[in-house]
Amino acid sequence: MHSEMIERMMLALDDELSADEQQQLQSHLLMCGACAEEWAGLRAAHEALTQAITIAPRVDFSERVMMRVVVAATQKKSRRRDIFGLILFVLGTLGVAVMIFAAPLSILARPETLALVVREFILLGHVAAAIYAWITTAMRVLGQMLGSGPLLIMAILMLTITMGWARVMSGQALPKLGVS
């Protein structure tokens, strides 16, 4: 009975009781001290809350909010710009890396291109070996003709430079030609 009446009291606070239900509640409150006490407490709290005013902020509140909003918007834009810049930097770096490493690799990955490159190197080796042979022969002839001296030293120096260059350029091609 009490719990049912307390539920009715809650509805009564919100003006959601019919006239009959209100009458029944009133009758019960006259007879039941515990419920009357509960009702008095509920009414007192309800009135304290309904009579309280709505507190407004100080007059310049909206200006202060808008200042914070402007700062937040600027920070948001700046953050977005930073992120965009970082993305551009990463993409740019990747692009350069692809150009430096991936493009030559992709060319070399094709068998016909690789064969062409190897052929060119072999050709260069042959040319270098021919030059080497021609210079050594010429030096030998000159040596026989002039004997040892400054020309021989210069010839040996040139021969050494040419050999080194030829070795570098022709790679493994030289031994095949029987030239060391």
């Binding site: 407490g41 509920l42 007192a44 309904t50 309280a52 709505t54 507190i55 407004a56 909003v69």
Partner: protein, 206 residues
Amino acid sequence: MKQHLIEVDPTVILQARQGDARAFGQVVQHYQTPVYNLAYRMLGDAAEAEDAAQETFLRAYTQFQSYRPDLKFASWLLSIAAHYCIDRARRRKHVGFSLDDDLVQETMPSDHTDPTEMVMAREREADAQRLLHTLSPDSRAIVVLKYWHDMSVEEIADTTGDSISSVKVKLFRARQAMAKVSREQAERVTRPTHVGASKGLMTHAL
């Protein structure tokens, strides 16, 4: 004092959602009092309420894209305020409240300039805040939305994210808890009279 929320022009909401700062300024002007009042009732301190209300609008501005125009804007905005204040109230150690007399005076209607009326208004405010601060933060939010913003149980459920039955239960329990405090307060007020009366009776009997 019930104050049903009047929605701002939907065009303004739409413009503010698209990032129009001037339209957002209008939104702030329109909803500043309900948002501030909710924060003040929840936190019981003018400075904290100011900060919480500002934070609410800032969050609304940065999260405007999450607002669905088919929902009531006031419910969405007060939902941000309520959740922020509930979290803040739970985190802080101090659970009391302070009454800002200046704020009460500034907010009072202009016809209430009588000093007696002012004293009574302050007492009513203190009573209301005392009752609210006997409740848990989430129950307090429900009571504020019910009593100050005249929201139905369904609207409160939309705002707090609770189910309708949960809102009903919390409101029921909150009212019972506040009724108990009111009864105890009334007893404290009447007790000295009883003591005085019984002393008088005893003196009289003697």
